[in-house]
Symmetry: C2
Subunit: 398 residues, 2 copies
């Protein structure tokens, strides 16, 4: 698979924006989306009229609001962005990254010069809590998994137990992911649950799906994020704060009934894709934003992305290698776990964080000497070993 | 706006497939999608493993089934297509054409060599009829239109009344669109409602939203369609039946409160785009598949696409110019009205029809000497004057 089209031109990110993630019961997807897109427009020094195409990532807002279609249009007409192609991209929890990737290809191909990718989710409008759970279950396989009770927390509990059994990963190591991400979130004003908690707090939190406890989970949030992409040659006239897209890969899982559930082959394939395409490897990555839907997931991502050997993910966090100030800070933003997880916005919030970090604009959570950043976004059902994983690599444009 | 990227390579369609459209209460979206994709694979002489990326158009199946995400993956795993990027594209009734366009850009850019665009909708699984109506309303604007009773049939009734008032369009002319499309559907074994009806039958059919009667409406159907795209240079080794994509445009409406509701500016803009990009005009088009969601819509499309002057659409059908054997046959397939309208599949069924026609494989409904074919797909809410219109131009590859 080719990662960058043979004839594609270079693409840079020129602006990012993001709302505070959390519970916004008095808001709606239109307001949240508008805020994030305005932020990104301001950040990039371009005008609404400069946007030539828009890709909107949204996964479950339709199931909550009944407004299944036109989500992107209803947001963008608030800003006067009309007439252009506006497409919704849905890829379960990877909708935001997939929207970014389509925007990237469309600019790289030369069809558009400047494209907007934004993601939004509003779940607080749900009439009942069960409605949100049903909607999230719609990102799994309703017939073969959900109807048998195999919802996401159950899947990841199985995965965690197997990782513990197979590699001796400890509950303390898993808890440390939660402690780290909640602490990182404290430094992020846009995070939903920044807080200082101890390993003991995690281990004492409510047991939900053994061995996973409340603090091993990420929430389902309201929020929006936006990223503006531009052909490199044209970007100079708008801004000096250009971040290059080094490589983009989107992969789906491949079901293997005898497969190892402690690894996500789609992550490994996507990582291989971007490392090959860019010429960089995990040793070159300064920081990573990864899909920590559950603590065990982040541990597995260390392994699948090549930051440590298979089975050594627990040790990687145990030794503090993914902490701020460690070898490679993971989820400096707080990750899904503490920043929040509005499905369609998550991938674009990850990219926003990497852009701020590579620009040196991340304030108190700035990763020193950040040169190359990686995003990893995962979603979908278990027996497919995920329906989608997106990995992107970014670098400051010199 | 650039229609073909400066650096894009030529793209051809090498295979198409389609299920019978209609009511398939005992089927589901997985079975329907699988049938259409298999058809397209067989038609193109490629293997499942040749597909490098897939774009799935689906608008409302999630609202009906609860399976909001992974629709493409659940279909394609039946065929052994896994691991590759699989993205759902939603753009209201234009989801299928928008999926085709993303596939086109991805192949044109060189990121992929062979891509699949398919669309599927299954609404017969709904527990109650109201559920389908609610889902279709989700393709409009829930808050500002649907909640006030302004659903699609109401919008098009207003448009029809205005067209009658402004241009003297007659009920008989509108009825003639229905007679033509239902007759064309008789020759299409995949059509839902092929039948011989008279103008009087249309005028005597049940009044639903004055002046529109039952036979002025298109149905909401179950069905799937699939199209396989390939870089032109590589396509020769698979098939001699190559159809070139001449140009692709996707446009959104632009709200003008004082605007004329008898025209869709997005259609005009998209048509202008593809005529400019290809160097061909309406006078070069041998046949067109257009979005006849209501009879009045097809009449307006004649005008907006440049096949006749503004206001002369009624006359155009009145004189039989869009009939089989007329100047430019419109909806030889039967159109949405008689072939059926499974939202996410419709755009890809239009493209399939044009491909069959340009190859000379359309059997009894073959348009003689078909050289250039046009597809036009429309969707979305009224006060935005539609959220999306896609227009594509195709030509036989020599």
């Amino acid at each position: 698979m080719r990662l960058r089209g043979r004839e594609m031109r270079e693409v840079v990110v020129i602006g990012v924006g993001m709302t505070v993630f959390g519970k916004h019961p008095d808001s709606n997807f239109i307001k949240l989306g508008t805020m994030a897109v305005w932020d990104a427009l301001k950040d990039s020094n371009i005008k609404p009229g400069n946007i030539q195409a828009a890709y909107c990532g949204s996964a479950i807002t339709g199931l909550i609001t009944g407004q299944e279609c036109n989500i992107g249009h209803l947001v963008l007409e608030q800003i006067g962005i009309r007439g252009i192609p506006i497409v919704r991209i849905e890829n379960a929890c990877v909708s935001g990254s997939a929207a970014f990737r389509e925007a990237y290809i469309s600019v790289g191909s030369g069809v558009h010069d400047i494209a907007l990718a934004f993601g939004v989710e509003h779940v607080s409008g749900a009439l009942e809590k069960e409605q949100v759970m049903r909607a999230v279950n719609g990102a799994s396989d309703i017939e073969r998994e959900v109807s048998k009770g195999m919802v996401f927390p159950g899947s990841f509990a199985l995965i965690a137990n197997r990782h513990i059994f197979q590699y001796g990963t400890t509950r303390e190591q898993m808890a440390k992911v939660s402690v780290k991400n909640h602490r990182n979130g404290l430094l992020n004003r846009r995070a939903q649950y920044g807080m200082e908690i101890s390993i003991q707090d995690v281990l004492n939190s409510k047991m939900l799906t053994d061995p996973l406890r409340m603090y091993d989970y990420s929430p389902v949030s309201d929020g929006a994020a936006a990223v503006i992409l531009c052909a490199k040659d044209l970007a100079k006239k708008f801004t000096d704060k250009r971040i290059r897209v080094l490589a983009s890969s989107l992969r789906s899982g491949e079901f293997d009934p005898k497969g190892d559930i402690t690894t996500f082959p789609a992550t490994k394939n996507a990582a291989k894709d971007v490392y090959e395409a860019s010429g960089y490897g995990p040793e070159d990555v300064s920081l990573a934003e990864v899909h920590d839907c559950f603590t065990i997931a982040e541990i597995i991502h260390y392994e699948d992305l090549g930051f440590c050997e298979k089975g050594k993910g627990g040790q990687f966090i145990g030794e503090g290698k993914s902490e701020m100030g460690g070898k490679v800070p993971f989820n400096a933003s707080g990750g899904l776990m503490s920043k929040g997880h509005p499905l369609g916005a998550t991938g674009l919030a990850q990219i926003s964080e990497i852009v701020w970090q590579l620009r040196g604009e991340a304030g108190k959570r700035q990763v020193q000497n950040a040169k190359i950043g990686l995003t990893h976004n995962l979603g979908g059902y278990m027996h497919g070993d995920t329906s989608a994983v997106a990995v992107h690599l970014f670098q400051k444009d010199s």
